[in-house]
Symmetry: C2
Subunit: 554 residues, 2 copies
């Protein structure tokens, strides 16, 4: 009999947050990774482009990593792959659409070869001691799967992001049989999607959105402009179907919408009837009641096509009075204000905007409470680990599981970096591994830290005042300056007196220092900083960053 | 018969936005003002403290202003008064609590005398040709009123902020009789609150919150910490009532909560049974099940008491496992993320957080669609002007009025600065007056404009790089530098090579310029800026502000 090892689940991202999902499953010295996603920065991460998980634990043990398993093609599940592949060369497994999206992403990052492996829902593979089954689930992108990971110590089920859509737009429904079969045979631990755990009831079927589109298309007299998430291929399919049925042509506008649609169509996930799709330059020549435009900007993103149209700043399209604009999405938390602003602008230009979630033009891709309960009751796990959610969601999901009879001691509310360890006799939280976030700003991965962010914060609030003075090394006299330059602090023309006073103060302080023989520039700089800071605060109640620069002249 | 003048309604704030409400009613050369509120800055107004309406139209005609009428004491209705009174000395009319809050605000601003006039709901006053009636309405602060303004050309009704609460916590309900009587006699124009026009149905009564509090208080085993809006005196009253009934003492924590409670209690709007109120230092000595703390921070404001407790950073209070924390408020749009973060932190510290709006611990202070319809049908105005709302809300409110039979031509979707002009023969939009926003940053009122904001934005995203060089005026040689200082751009220790390269580039450019006899420093600075900008973008994909400073040495 082979030696028995410990089994560990180590989430490196996605716990206590929505985004940058990444989990390690470890048995002995064999590791597999589930998903490698990114997160978009919160408001306080000024200037940061994206956030990826700190995966130093993986790079330090990279020879033990057997493969990466991807549940679906959303950025928060695959967006870290291009970074990871610079450090680790490892096989990647995912469904056809997921792998197609990965390939496009890697190409953008000039990575042209990688060990990609396409799988289908229902497939199973072996990696070391692990046997992995890919299980069909429904989500807001096609080809999403959950995973059953069979290990010598039992089976771990990971739902991925999922909902239970009884009437999906294309393809089959979530594989109820497989989840039930796994449950009947016995599951050690279930990791389940907590994103929508705060919502009671059932999430509506994607198909209901299509029915609403049909109504909107029947009633619209002029052009229809519809914004949604580029990755929601089923949504795009339903727009195309409604357009075709109602004798409208379709143009796809917006870079990411075009990218996704192209990949999805190439791989057979988007079915576009002959002649329906037109170029935007062509479609504008048609009568208004034959026009439908699918575009990006459902989140009010500043550079997106719909936002540009709303701001009258799009190269090819402008809103006309009577246009029907459908925002087929809910604002992601944090985007409420920018979405509202876009809607207001569209109304001002005379469009009829259909936007409320009650209008039925959007449904979520995540399971609500009743679906989450069903998943737990199907899989009947011994241990439960809620994933994909902010802390309160994990708590709530844990409470839900407890209501269904999972003992409180068998429910793990864990953090990124937590090690959940399983042995034959039980399971426990067994310490932590390094984890956290890595900030990506332009080409810099991880070089922006707390000091840079703190400075950006101060600069953003009250700007900066730079005081420059040149001193003679030989005579110890001021040979140039003091000069003052400010940015983001005050409107300079209206503040000349105050800044002139500040100059005088710098001069006095410097001369006094020089007279007293102080040649420690750090001391002089501190005195300038303190005096100016007090002076400017009294005059303005603002606290700009104050930066004294002393140049020594030979 | 006196000469007949035109009647004008001129909104200066509150249209196309939520906040900084201010309206001028003008008849001939007589003006009155309704409300003078502030707004809180949107995210893109970096470093701005508050926003007030541009009221230059009023100061330019200040001899014509007869008085300011206040509907209630919220900041978005009274917050501009301290600024306005520096320019205009004019009588102010409001109910007792409203005037008490104004007085406190003015004291903070060192304005100790002003022409304040207390009125009661039901009172009427005369100002020039205007006769004004104050009409009781319900809202999330006591003593709120709507206004009927009788003019020679007809009656204007302004609802103020309102809801129809059939079972208010104290006092009487909205004066249905008066609104109906006005409607029967004939109303020229109704201005009505659009804040909640996107919500179907009726807004729940404030009293339902009290019933929920009672349940929470009965079930809580340990301390109760409850956060709400400081100005919601009825909410605070209901907490005190629930505490009293369930044998708990109450401590009020947080500066603004204390301020409001003190003023409300002094003026008789808050009824605190003998012995219930304790100082925070006293209450912590009691057993946990006798403790209730009312505090600020329901919006996750960084400096508020609850946020500090959540961050383990409050001077006197820390969260204990088992505490029940009630967030008796909904996040104001834009605050969703910070509220969620506070809730997560509280859960992590072991508190049981009651926060969902479905939990029934909060109701809105604004009328929903059915109440708005009732108001329109009671008042039956000839013309309708939706106010207090973002653009889409005004549109929606207009559509509601149209459904109730107001002709579309008689509904004005106006903007700040619009002049709605009434004559005997009709009404129309008649041009615009100056309007807009004034940004307040510290002591500066209006001095921060687009240039300063644009700089703050750039600084916040990629920081700043300052290049300093001293040149000899006589020899035309570099006598000190180039030196480079950066803030918020890169972590300097890891970027030494790049910055050293940048220095070399500056040196080369400068020497070349000097050799070529270029002594226009603007030309040199531009060359430095362009070269560095390109160099740094290539290396980092970031665009810091680049600030070349040249000092001339004698």
């Amino acid at each position: 009999m082979p030696k028995e090892h410990k089994l560990q689940i180590i989430p490196l991202g996605g716990l206590g947050e929505v985004g940058k999902n990444m989990t390690i499953i470890r048995y002995g010295n064999q590791m597999i990774m589930i998903d490698a996603g990114l997160a978009f920065p919160e408001d306080d991460l000024l200037g940061i482009d994206i956030v990826i998980p700190d995966y130093s634990y993986v790079t330090e043990n990279k020879e033990q990593l057997l493969g990466i398993l991807l549940t679906h093609g959303h950025e928060d599940h695959i967006g870290t792959i291009p970074y990871l592949l610079k450090d680790i060369d490892v096989p990647i497994f995912g469904t056809t659409l997921t792998m197609g999206l990965i390939q496009a992403r890697l190409k953008e990052n000039n990575i042209n070869s990688f060990k990609g492996n396409n799988v289908k829902p229902g497939d199973s593979i072996k990696l070391g001691s692990f046997k992995i089954e890919f299980i069909r689930v429904s989500h807001s992108i096609p080809d999403a799967v959950g995973l059953a990971i069979h290990t010598p110590l039992g089976t771990i089920v990971h739902t991925g992001d999922f909902k239970l859509d009884h009437t999906p737009v294309t393809g089959e429904i979530l594989d109820i049989y497989k989840f039930a079969e796994l449950g009947q045979k016995g599951v050690l631990c279930l990791m389940s999607d907590s994103t929508n755990v705060e919502r009671p009831g059932f999430t509506m079927s994607e198909r209901t959105v299509g029915q609403m589109f049909d109504e909107v298309f029947r009633n619209a007299k002029e052009r229809i402009i519809l914004a949604s998430f580029a990755s929601n291929v089923h949504r795009v399919q339903q727009v195309i179907d409604a357009a075709f049925k109602n004798n409208r042509k379709v143009a796809i506008v917006g870079r990411s919408m075009l990218n996704y649609a192209t990949i999805a169509a190439e791989l057979g996930y988007l079915n576009i009837p002959e002649g329906v799709l037109l170029d935007v330059d062509e479609i504008v020549k048609l009568p208004n009641n034959q026009v439908c435009i699918i575009t990006t900007g459902s989140q009010g993103e500043p550079m997106s096509a719909l936002t540009r149209m709303a701001m009258n700043d799009h190269k090819k399209l402008e809103i006309q009075p009577g246009d029907t604009v459908v925002i087929s999405a809910n604002p992601i938390p944090g985007n409420e204000k920018s979405v509202a602003k876009t809607i207001d602008q569209l109304f001002k230009l005379g469009a009829n905007v259909i936007y409320e979630s009650v209008a039925g033009v959007h449904v979520s891709g995540h399971a609500s409470q009743e679906e989450l309960k069903l998943m737990i009751n199907m899989v009947k796990p011994k241990y439960f680990l809620p994933v994909h959610g902010e802390y309160r969601m994990l708590i709530k999901h844990g409470q839900l599981a407890e209501q269904l009879g999972i003992p409180a001691d068998n429910i793990f509310i864990a953090e990124n970096g937590s090690v959940i360890e399983f042995t034959k006799s039980g399971a426990c939280l067994a310490g932590k591994v390094p984890s956290g976030r890595i900030l990506v700003d332009g080409l810099g991965v991880g070089d922006v830290g707390n000091i840079v962010l703190r400075d950006r914060k101060q600069l953003s609030q009250d700007g900066i005042l730079i005081a420059v003075i040149a001193l003679s090394r030989s005579t110890g006299e001021i040979v140039a300056g003091p000069d003052i330059v400010t940015r983001g602090f005050v409107y300079v023309r209206e503040s000349e007196t105050m800044l002139e006073e500040a100059k005088q103060k710098i001069k006095q302080i410097t001369e006094r220092c020089l007279e007293n023989g102080i040649i420690e520039w750090a001391v002089l700089k501190n005195q300038i900083r303190d005096t100016l800071s007090k002076h400017l605060y009294e005059k303005t109640r603002r606290k700009p960053m104050i930066l004294p620069i002393i140049q020594e002249v030979k």
